[in-house]
Symmetry: C2
Subunit: 477 residues, 2 copies
């Protein structure tokens, strides 16, 4: 007999028939009531055991974490808490779980303990929900772009370029570190390395993505990216997934429209598909925040916050306006900011971004037209000669979730900028070719996928929204 998923059983379509369920025991009460979960939904199916006719030996083995198979009638439940239950006629223990040793006991574990058991934490309600939501969000990303005719492009993870300057890079090598081959003058002989040159893990697929956008029109990447930065914070990972759309003929306004429409679409898609998981995560967040002082608690419950993002336009504010707002702000005047804003040109810190989003505007904010000298070389210089067509999208509680720009499409201006910054033209010959042959206005952005998952799940540490986090001093599993 083929087994049926718990999600399907709970829909009731098989009521009053004999069914088979397979899954893992969450709890076993009164030698009679098994809460069985198979990961298809956050909900368990109650399996009622005829304990008088079940051998004592078997009952003892129905422990938290054990894998079992039950056969029985699916009936409407008389008890509170569930609509349907299985009246078990046959029970088989597939895999035992020693109650003394299984780490995921049915009690509250600290998030830190769960991180140390990342291979088992997904057997808890919270992490099951987070990982299902993450998966649906990822599919929302693909569905949005594919429906709009974007082409998914897998830009390379291993790269010979290290010019983009988005951050410190990891080196990839097949040379023996203990005794690498050297050239006559004593340097490492990268000609003998696998790729015949020094290679790194990519920090962004943007530059390669641009070459494809200038042929296919609209493309997006969605893949892993890397930063070898010693940032031990709740917002940084050494390995994270990034989404990077790039669109020919889009200017910065089109780019903002795209980013806003995209984010609203994928959040709506996920709300529609993940009601049960999001309700659970909303409850989890409320519970967690009870221990916080009132001022630190969220103003809105999780689903309310998500709907707020859907229903309200993101506030578009130029860097110059933002500086004015910050300069006149109470925390700036009272010197409560760690970095006091005095002059136009200052780089915005996390405290400033949070003030703008969480205190001043109280909604997602798109900052644009930043000073050229605090932004990357490929951004389109404005006619004022001092700002570039950059944009950052800031989210409450998360900070920067999107960074993007209109790209400098003028060959001469781009080359001059690269020269000024000491970026090797030879190395980026292929990138410059996009401006040599059929150049055009184009724009794109990068969205850090885990930051979006943080926002949608209401979690606060980025290590809790990726299966196996990679951070300084940690590459377990």
């Amino acid at each position: 007999m083929k087994h049926t998923k718990v999600k399907a059983l709970l829909s009731g379509s098989k009521v009053n028939t004999e069914v088979n369920a397979k899954g893992w025991v969450r709890t076993f009460r009164n030698n009679q009531f098994i809460a069985l979960n198979d990961g298809s939904t956050i909900h368990n199916i109650q399996c009622v055991v005829d304990f008088e006719n079940t051998p004592e030996e078997t009952l003892k083995r129905i422990t938290t974490g054990a894998a079992i198979s039950v056969i029985g009638n699916l009936v409407e439940s008389q008890g509170a808490g569930q609509k349907f239950e299985i009246q078990v006629t046959k029970l088989e223990i597939l895999g035992d779980s020693d109650a003394e040793k299984f780490p995921m006991q049915p009690k509250k574990h600290s998030l830190e303990f769960l991180r140390e058991n990342a291979h088992l934490r997904v057997r808890t309600n919270a992490f099951g929900a987070i990982m299902r939501v993450r998966s649906v969000l990822a599919h929302a990303v693909h569905t949005y772009f594919q429906e709009k005719g974007f082409v998914y492009v897998n830009t390379p993870v291993i790269t010979g370029a290290d010019a983009e300057g988005a951050g410190e890079m990891f080196q990839v090598t097949s040379l023996p570190l203990d005794n690498p081959p050297r050239t006559e003058d004593g340097n490492i002989d990268y000609k003998k390395d696998f790729f015949g040159k020094h290679t790194n893990l990519t920090v962004s697929g943007q530059l390669e993505g641009e070459t494809f956008a200038m042929a296919l029109g609209q493309i997006y990447t969605f893949g892993p990216t890397f930063r070898a930065e010693n940032s031990n914070t709740s917002r940084h990972l050494a390995e994270f997934w990034m989404i990077e759309p790039e669109v020919a003929f889009n200017d910065l306004d089109d780019n903002m429209d795209l980013a806003e429409d995209f984010i609203q679409y994928i959040i709506k898609y996920t709300i529609d598909k993940c009601q049960d998981d999001l309700k659970f995560l909303e409850g989890r967040l409320l519970e967690e925040e009870k221990s916080k002082p009132q001022a630190d608690r969220s103003e809105m419950a999780l689903l309310e916050k998500l709907n707020f993002v859907l229903e309200n336009n993101f506030k578009r504010v130029s860097y110059t306006e933002a500086i004015d707002i910050l300069r006149d702000s109470t925390p700036n005047k009272k010197k409560k900011f760690q970095y006091i804003i005095n002059e136009w040109g200052a780089d915005l810190q996390s405290e400033h971004e949070r003030y703008l989003v969480e205190k001043h505007f109280k909604c997602p904010v798109i900052l644009f037209d930043y000073p050229a000298n605090i932004k990357a070389f490929y951004m389109r210089l404005n006619e004022d000669g001092k700002t570039v067509r950059a944009m950052d999208i800031l989210f409450p509680g998360i900070g920067e979730i999107v960074g993007g720009s209109q790209r400098e499409e003028r060959y001469d201006v781009l080359v001059e900028k690269m020269k000024a910054l000491g970026i090797d033209e030879e190395e980026l010959w292929w990138y410059l070719d996009t401006r040599r042959f059929g150049s055009a206005v184009h724009s794109g952005f990068g969205l850090g996928f885990e930051r979006l998952v943080l926002f949608v799940t209401g979690m606060t540490n980025i290590r809790d929204v990726i299966p196996f986090p990679r951070t300084p001093q940690n590459a377990e599993f």
Copy 2:
């Protein structure tokens, strides 16, 4: 005025209205007819220039590769070859393309030349088509699994484990190769490396995926994987994308059913969505094969071959049966095989797989129940004690496209196997936990995405179906 995609223009819905198109010039004939492509479709839109009223200077700049914007009436075309065309009233050169220098001239280029210009080759018909088909195939993968309730899991790219043994690994490090820190006894001090230990690029997400399948029931990965093997062949890449589903409670038969259903679904999905591109690629293949001797040509045209895979069950053959067939085969008897098959236990080479698929069965073949000692440690030992529940799917022209197995769910048997092979139990403590706590029958497989793209596009070199191939001595772009 907002521009309209060429694909939408060619659908005719805007006929007899003023439209704006933006794209790149493919050809310009008689100072009058521009073939304009924007990557939204393989087809160009013909733009008819009023050359008598267009400045000579502008006409000269309408060269292959130039980016232009045209405004004009969309009308039914009188000429052969297209249904609709734009009668241009306004033309703007967005970005020039020097006809002397632009490498992608409208003529046949060698695939090797195009690989050296991977940033521009996507501006050709063939590579535009390949990359669109690849993108749709990728979306088919996600759609299939998501509709079936599988959870997409991003297993880590950087891994501290190197036990799986699927192949040579690349090292990832932030240590300076020139002068790495050393311990007192002179070894490299990996405690000082970014992750505090020796790390590599993953060869497979399977082991991590299994831990998630044993909680969420059905999961899949789809991400980049790596092999530091010096294989300079048309079937190997150092960086490629792999799809790895893993399902709790599935045995090997379920696993074969899943793989077959999955492959048929995604091919059907892609045929439905990519008619124009596949027809073009079918023509390209026919053209290419004209230069081959009759015996080396495909027996079926591309779409016929794809439909054949949809309509016919994959032939399921045990390793033992396959050995019997091969031993009795003409090339074996006549010693035409490089490796003569004498005895049960021999590892099958590419020549044997091709014989089975292309000569004997003439359809996709699933080989199963291989000798234990030529397969990985985690595969389920059969009751015969000498074979394991492994399966490989072989495709005509491609060879192995899927490798999978039912996993060894018995803790004791697994540990014994690891000991025999010298695999460190301590390192895989988390993997063994899946067998300690609630173990159950489960199965999965890995499908090399680029091999599937090869099959569907009819291309023959794997470097031509990934945007920027990574191979020995090559990490350009």
